[in-house]
């Protein structure tokens, strides 16, 4: 395999630049073409015609965080599994298939323990998570 060079990364940067350019260009066109008649009522947040009460930046239920928490753990585990999965076939062809399988499966089994724990404790239930956990935690 011949080593690739840095120029292979160019499209990534170019596409990001094109996205920014499209954004700026679209904004520019909009500034040129769009009418500008601001009024106070127009720029109130839309709440079906009612006068908004308070700010929307208020507290949210903790279950959003618990979902994010489970996500990030799984995300990191999948990151670590990617290089091992990428060479799994190669190891198998070299005759280390059994060893690779053991390494891989023991990694995944700990992942399964995590999801089983969260399932049992009710963290995966969107609605019931509150009642179940109050029972378990006193």
């Amino acid at each position: 395999m011949t080593p690739a060079n840095f120029d292979g990364l160019m499209p990534v940067v170019i596409f990001m630049g094109l996205a920014v350019a499209l954004f700026v260009g679209g904004h520019f066109a909009s500034v040129l073409l769009a009418p500008k008649k601001p009024s106070h009522l127009k720029s109130t947040p839309y709440e079906c015609g009612e006068q908004p009460v308070g700010s929307a930046w208020s507290m949210f239920n903790v279950r959003f965080y618990v979902v994010g928490l489970i996500f990030i753990i799984f995300d990191v585990e999948s990151v670590l599994m990617f290089p091992v999965a990428a060479i799994f076939r190669e190891l198998n062809d070299m005759g280390h298939g059994g060893y690779a399988l053991i390494v891989f499966l023991s990694f995944i089994s700990i992942l399964i323990e995590g999801i089983a724990y969260c399932w049992k404790k009710g963290d995966l239930d969107w609605v019931k998570s509150f009642q179940v956990s109050t029972k378990n935690n006193k």
Binding site: I73, D75, V76
Partner: protein, 101 residues
């Protein structure tokens, strides 16, 4: 220009800014942001040394595990922040005076 020294200096500036954020802020989430900066500076150092000083990729593995540990740290740290907020109704770090609850 793209030598070892420039990467080390970028990493040092990042580290120093992270330390400053950790000291100057009184908001616990902002302190966690500073910790992330510090950890990233360390990981950047590992990868830079791995390219310029050695011929193997052990530095990459190290920074990979730093990223893993940083994610776990952020998860647990933010959980503590949320719990702290439920008890004290603030996330000012000076209010964290008790070791129980």
């Amino acid at each position: 220009m793209m030598g070892l020294a420039s990467y080390l200096i970028i990493s040092l500036i990042l580290f120093v800014i992270g330390i400053t954020v950790m000291i100057a802020r009184k908001n616990i989430v902002a302190i966690l942001l500073g910790i992330e900066l510090v950890l990233n500076a360390a990981a950047l150092n590992f990868v830079a040394y791995s390219r310029f000083a050695t011929n193997n990729l052990d530095g990459h593995i190290f920074s990979l595990f730093i990223i893993v540990v940083a994610a776990a740290e952020a998860a647990v740290g933010l959980a503590i922040v949320i719990r702290f907020f439920q008890i004290k109704e603030t996330i000012h770090v000076d209010e964290a005076t008790t070791l129980r609850n």
